[in-house]
């Protein structure tokens, strides 16, 4: 958003040309996300990543200090995409209920798009040393915060019951993640849109106040 490309991480590169660093890292991370997602972090070698990225193994170490660093970058790139997609889905919407559903729908869809990578995040975050892991957790809390904020707005508007916002946000987030985590089973039960519909019905029942229900009716009426 600002003039200079936002630096996602503080990993130090040995190369000075900032634009090149960005490009190279993107190249490396793209390869890494794909490979890590499919084979897991430990089964993927740096040589694999290099090959898929179309660079040499040595080059990677000019943009990264560690293999773990590649993992960090990969995980951050996934979380970043969450942080990017949700606000995008909310753009132009002002009705709290509309925003709430839009945010959650967006979340489910990004998860679906990055399904393997979401699983990767669950599998591999613990493979990071505590300090790098913290970075991941902070980013996750941020994303959750967006969902929580939408929820809070609905509660403040009297559209939803006064539940524990943070906990409920976790339910919502978990619902989205589960589509990835349990996809091996869920895909036999329904497709994504059906999953979203059933889930939203569930959350509506759990959360909406009578006022919320009426409001909801009006939204849906408009939508038709």
């Amino acid at each position: 958003m600002e003039g200079s490309p936002r630096v996602v991480h503080d990993v130090k590169a040995q190369v000075s040309d900032e634009a090149l660093v960005q490009r190279r890292r993107a190249q490396i991370v793209a390869a890494a996300v794909e490979l890590f997602s499919h084979q897991g972090f430990y089964r993927t070698t740096i040589q694999d990543v290099a090959r898929k990225a179309g660079v040499s193994a040595g080059l990677i170490y000019q943009y990264v200090t560690d293999k773990e660093d590649v993992l960090l970058l990969a995980l951050l790139s996934v979380l970043e995409s969450y942080k990017r997609e949700i606000p995008a889905a909310l753009a132009g919407l002002s009705d709290p209920l509309e925003r709430f559903w839009a945010a959650n729908r967006a979340y489910c869809r990004v998860v679906d798009q990055w399904r393997e990578a979401t699983v990767l995040a669950y599998r591999s975050t613990k493979s990071l040393p505590e300090d790098r892991r913290r970075l991941i957790k902070e980013t996750e809390i941020e994303t959750n915060g967006m969902i929580a904020a939408c929820l809070r707005d609905c509660i403040d508007a009297g559209l939803m019951r006064d539940v524990n916002v943070d906990l409920a946000a976790y339910q919502l987030v978990t619902f989205a993640h589960s589509w990835a985590l349990k996809h091996w089973r869920l895909k036999e039960l329904c497709n994504l849109e059906e999953y979203i519909r059933q889930g939203f019905d569930f959350f509506a029942q759990a959360l909406l106040t009578p006022k919320g229900w009426r409001h909801q009716g009006r939204i849906e009426g408009k939508a038709e």
Copy 2:
């Protein structure tokens, strides 16, 4: 429905004394669960497991074919504990609603007890070769089935809305698992019992019919 004494795994040991095999495997698995849970599968060496189990590294291979086999055994032991605890919690209960809450409460508590191991299951199942992974998945489906059965009984009794049983069961299971998966954050927000209470309130709202609510009131009345 009960845990029929089905043989959990068909991994062949090189030792013939069946009782010894049981004991040794338990020893190995206990060590493995602890180590894998904390350091992850790949960061744990067989030597680590052997040391913690108080045996030699070579011995492990008399009871297991692979390092991966140790993982399989570890994961199965966790899933087995689920399958054991839930029916135990239902023993003596006949009221569908009581059984429903009891089952879910039991689930949350086993997860809490085996918190690290539950995380392990999420992290490491994919590290198994497809055929061993299938074993894990089947066991998981079975456990889910117990939750789903309780839910179905409530629906059949008119106490709960006629939701998609399998999907709703996943929501419940996921809720329990999340306590482990997101414990790093949730523990800052509440303790287990509070987590259960809030979650159950949520599910009650989402699932109970008016008849269910009245019934629920009576149960709680009795409970006091």
Copy 3:
């Protein structure tokens, strides 16, 4: 031949009952010869030998000091069979030429009978430490001596040319061994009897004197 069963080797057993020692060792060696012959010495484990011999692994070490000791015993048992068969084939024969052919024919046939084991001897003698290997070599020299003696008798009788007896004996022995060593190829070219016939024709040409030829004619005449 003597009263006490001849002790083939000086390997010390931990068991005192001499008859038992003989029996157990025979059991072990029989299993070892078969396994070593097929899979080679290094690919065969003591457990394999124990299993095939129908005893426990621990028992083997009461009759043998080493795995190498098992190999020594196995090789000796093969060489012993040579030393047994050749004299047996000569029993009752007094004509030098008849004895010569009979000895060589017998040799070829024992080799054929113990084909895999003969290959084993070639493969594995070098796996023994020098002192144990000497034992093998001495036994081999003894066997060669029997062939050489037959040859010398023919020469002394003027039936064969005065060639270097030791070298020629090696040619004869090698001819027999080759049937085992190169069986993978030779079996495509002819069967054992054909191999012997062609080889004997060859050696006859190489060795017989004119007197030898006349004598040979008479033998064959008698044979018909």
Copy 4:
């Protein structure tokens, strides 16, 4: 007939620079032949080979897939030297009898040069998996073919008896190999040239026709 520059093996190296691959493999194989010859395949560790070759253990695996692959390369390098030396010895010779003796003399001398390695070939070919072993056998058949061809030419020219060419070739080949296989004993009986002389006398008796003898006389006359 000549050593066409056929690629000896199709083992894939992880290194692309073809010249380097040649050089490294030669380095590794040279070390391996020496060590395997003296200590045997199983007693030699990859670390041993690496040390003797002056490289790291890891490097070997960039040029070879297996320890067995090192053995294969080692054996092939020996057999290749046979295939190289024999044609070289025949260069410029056109007389069938001269060619016959030259080929066999060359064979005996290569065997002498690579004495330990020849023993290695006998000991270790069976240590290879069947498919790699086939490669060895094919190469051996080819070498034998060169000897057999010389023999056939002599027969066709009426200089030698019409024996079974393949079997007789084996006798000749075996004679050469025996110098290596039984060197521990033969060296006490004679030196290489004496061995060759005696052997050739033997084969001359066995194979030459009257015409062959006259021809032989002329050659030797020339030679003096």
